[in-house]
Symmetry: C2
Subunit: 594 residues, 2 copies
């Protein structure tokens, strides 16, 4: 159950593919550097490997609700204390409020480690940072001063309260009420479900961000406001006051991430929970969306992180498990199963996707940093558009693939993979939520075809396809990468046809674009991942020519890219066919036929 942070690969993705030096040169990130990043990530790796990873199996036993209090799994409280004391929670929290203000790109690599080490645990800091982001951008100075210093350091944690039984993907249906009080506060009442880390005693206080409706609010999404509802009210001097009227009434029994308590939260059972309006009334959903990009990127990384952990476990087992002779050798003695071609095929299928996904997530994080800090307004806007396009892809592709990759890891283990003590089954169960929460794959895909592709007439999509073509061109002189280059060229052509289809059909009959939306998302993920693998192969070739090159690492990177070209990129064809020629058969079927 050992975890080794893939530092070398992370640094390659950060430095070479996401251009960390350029990100560090952005205004406000001057304190950051490649050297500092390496030092931080080395420490993060130690922490993830030695403190967090060992708590993961015990975490699978689950959090429990005892007399209204959540009892967290063995080791979690101690790990949390160490995590907060070491300042890990504040990596990308604002410096003004006690954080370290590092680029999202740097924080992302550390976050991958936390998620690999213990996903259930890592959700607490991730949600806390989401709370920080929402308050930083939208709350009054008073609310910011009250909450941000404690949240940025992990003294308190944060939660997101969106979902209600009738309001899942469709937040227009939110019914929680907020009634204004004479003192400017509000009394909230209603029930929220699926609230991750909604109750616990790791931290002194919990800061709930809650979507609710004012009495006079318009119907639908335009009548939803955002409130801060602390578990304990905060006195003027910052000390904790009375217990607020918000309680965890039950925990869900989930397929995975058992360590993370998923709470049903009840607001206002005893007269109303005291809350404070964030920003303006009726703009709650828009405020939530401003932090959605970061959150969705984070969930994509969760998928990737579980894939990485499962991959490492599969490699370890494949090296140790001796079974059956080598089909290519005369010797009849059984060999380690890593020698069997199909086991290698499985391991490479995992490895190639993980590297492509990490690279694409890093490129998205760099765009996030540039969109936030670039001094040139055009570059800022260009990067924001790029980020907006990449987010649903990173979220949807990395999490869907996590289901497949963790499944392959189970498969490599054979019968032992199905036994819980082996540990790999937990990654498979844990991973299954990532394609669902923070917007299902279907929601991501609809966002991609609508707001991110059709809305700008396919401009950003085509610009990216142009980049893919340029990389394919550069690869054409690289014999080992012939199949990859061909796959990128062919994929770019098909992708362009798909973009044209999406733009046209979304305007004509949005249902037709929606019918192929997930195929489009997966196609773009595969292709843009292949683009990153192509870039990596080219860079690795250059580096190999340098003195003192890390030949083993760079050659493996190229071999993995070649595998991606031969085994993964060909799937683009089927996805394009499904999109371009498949809407009729999706939409033409009667409801009664099911």
């Amino acid at each position: 159950m050992i975890y080794h942070a893939p530092l070398k690969d992370m640094l390659f993705a950060l430095n070479e593919l996401a251009e960390l030096p350029a990100v560090c040169a952005l205004p406000g990130y001057e304190d950051c550097s490649v050297e500092l990043t390496e030092a931080i990530l080395e420490e993060a790796a130690k922490f993830a490997e030695s403190v967090l990873a060992p708590t993961n199996r015990a975490g699978d036993a689950g959090s429990r609700l005892v007399d209204g209090k959540v009892v967290t799994p063995e080791g979690f409280a101690d790990a949390w204390r160490q995590y907060v004391d070491a300042g890990w929670i504040g990596l990308r929290a604002p410096q003004d409020f006690g954080g370290q203000g590092l680029p999202a790109l740097v924080a992302l690599a550390a976050e991958e480690m936390w998620c690999s080490a213990n996903l259930a645990f890592s959700l607490a800091p991730m949600l806390t940072l989401g709370t920080v982001e929402a308050l930083l951008h939208h709350a009054s100075e008073e609310l910011r001063n009250t909450y941000l210093p404690k949240l940025s350091t992990g003294q308190w944690t944060g939660t997101m309260n969106l979902t209600e039984p009738q309001a899942g993907s469709d937040l227009a249906q939110v019914r929680t009420r907020a009634v204004p009080q004479a003192d400017g506060s509000y009394k909230l009442s209603g029930q929220k479900i699926f609230i991750t880390w909604g109750e616990h005693e790791l931290a002194e206080n919990i800061v709930h961000l809650v979507l609710a409706r004012l009495p006079d609010a318009p119907e639908g999404v335009k009548g939803i406001s955002l409130f801060v509802v602390p578990k304990f009210l905060v006195n003027a001097d910052g000390s904790l006051g009375a217990r607020n009227d918000v309680h965890c009434v039950s925990l869900e029994h989930k397929m995975g991430i058992h360590g993370s308590p998923t709470c049903v939260m009840s607001y206002g059972d005893n007269g109303g929970a005291t809350g404070y309006l964030v920003g303006e009334a009726n703009k709650g959903l828009a405020y939530m969306f401003t932090m959605m990009n970061h959150a969705r990127l984070g969930v994509g990384v969760e998928g990737l992180a579980l894939s990485e952990r499962a991959y490492q476990k599969a490699v370890e087992y494949a090296r140790e498990r001796v079974q059956s002779r080598d089909i290519g050798a005369a010797d009849q003695q059984p060999v380690a199963i890593i020698r069997h071609p199909d086991v290698r095929r499985m391991l490479l299928t995992m490895k190639a996707q993980i590297e492509a996904q990490r690279a694409l997530a890093c490129v998205a994080a760099a765009a996030l940093d540039r969109a936030a800090r670039h001094p040139n307004p055009e570059e800022k806007a260009r990067n924001q558009a790029l980020l907006n396009f990449l987010i649903p892809i990173v979220k949807g592709w990395c999490t869907e693939a996590a289901n497949d990759i963790t499944s392959l890891a189970v498969q490599v283990h054979g019968g032992m993979g199905y036994i819980e003590e082996t540990g790999v089954a937990q990654y498979y169960r844990d991973a299954r939520i990532t394609a669902i929460y923070e917007g299902t794959t279907g929601i991501q895909a609809l966002d991609l075809v609508g707001r991110k592709t059709a809305a700008d007439g396919g401009r950003v999509a085509r610009a990216l396809i142009g980049e893919v073509r340029r990389t394919a061109e550069a690869l054409s002189a690289d014999a080992q990468m012939a199949r990859l280059a061909e796959g990128l060229r062919d994929g770019a052509e098909r992708a362009e046809a798909c973009v044209a289809y999406v733009v046209d059909e979304f305007a004509r009959d949005a249902r037709r674009a929606a019918a192929g939306s997930v195929a489009f998302l997966k196609l773009m993920g595969l292709l843009l991942g292949g683009w990153q693998m192509g870039r990596a192969a080219l860079i690795a070739k250059e580096r190999l020519a340098e003195e003192g090159a890390d030949v083993a690492f760079l050659s493996a990177k190229r071999a993995t890219a070649a595998f991606y070209g031969a085994h993964l990129l060909p799937q683009v064809g089927a996805l394009a066919a499904s999109l371009l020629d498949g809407a009729d058969t999706v939409l033409g079927c009667d409801d009664a036929a099911f």
Copy 2:
């Protein structure tokens, strides 16, 4: 958690695609008929729906080991008693020993229902029938008379004891010892793992089939013998005697099929377990293989059965759950999610594969019946070869797809899918074992490329591809099926190239064929499934022209076939590319690169 046996679709597959009337005309099956089959399956449906299906959720709580005895989940003992009393276990057991001797084709449909209703439960009768088959073909008359009547009626149950910690896929490593005794019996000692229903008290006795080595046995697979080891020794008069020296020492904690106790069995802790040699010494593995075809077909059906149950659950939820507006309608009111194009795409992806898989499994079962009973030796041999080719495909394809299909069912449920009480997560967890036990997908694929394709120079494979071509040709006049016809034509061409590759490369360098073996298996599954969908579409068109046609059912069948052509068959291209042009990148990577 309701289950409706898909009787109409089953009967279509049996009657129209697998040609049940012709199977009933085989010698020995004269008592069977289409009418009798319908009557049997209607009763089976009632039993599966009303007795077995309601026990499935409770079964997830698991069997427990208490003082060496297995306590089965609530409802299992009662369901078992009813199952045995109704005579369901003997459907395809030999008439000479109290069974009903029905064709495998008929039994298969009932078995799908048992697996859909409660997979964990259904494993007990399935293993019992495997025991019956092995003894029927290989045991002495004395052993047959002693054991078969009680096994065929379910008074006793059977188990398969193959796996040991060091001997999983590689049975050459079996170490369990069998020492001959003066009375002609043997004393067995050793440990077996992963023994499904190895201990329980549903039945009076448990008959273990055990692979073990005689003291003078040669090394490897040629030194393995098969033994019967009953839990209670059987007296000369058939009554039960002393408790034998075989005990369950622990149960595994698995990801799914919790209701089925997976036992670690210890033989000979107190001097040796008494066993009886089946057939000749050192031929145990060959004997096991004779029943492997049926067992592997059965596991393929397990995958299909869980897909069906998960699909039904997803359809039910999609009809009930109201969320978000119809993207194609002006109305802003939220609608049932079955109206959303991506949800329909998911449901059709499930439905199309399930129908194709059921059809292919039925065609394989009909081949099994013909191979067993056909009076013409050539037809018998032809059907045996066809069956041999189809078995790894049905097993591998249906079970791999079950992972995807049950995952889609979870996805349709959104966040609710991750909550265990919803029930769909159980299907996802249960399904995950099917691609592993009774030979992993990698083992099936190696069997397919080696013994089933390369060994006969691709003869059977090419004959099947010829059938695919004929169906594609027949479809070319059917406008609604244009895409399906094209996919079958194109798929047949690619499959032929793949067969040539497999035959050549297996002889030249078997590792290269092995590297693409799973791609070949999935390709053949998709293509042959598409062939069945094509046949179904043609037959449905004919039937639609008949008076009193079931228009809704037949039109839905055609719509589903068209979907298969547009969304599933295109994947053939990527699989072919992976096989034909992917071996280098699988084999060329250093072990150190992982």
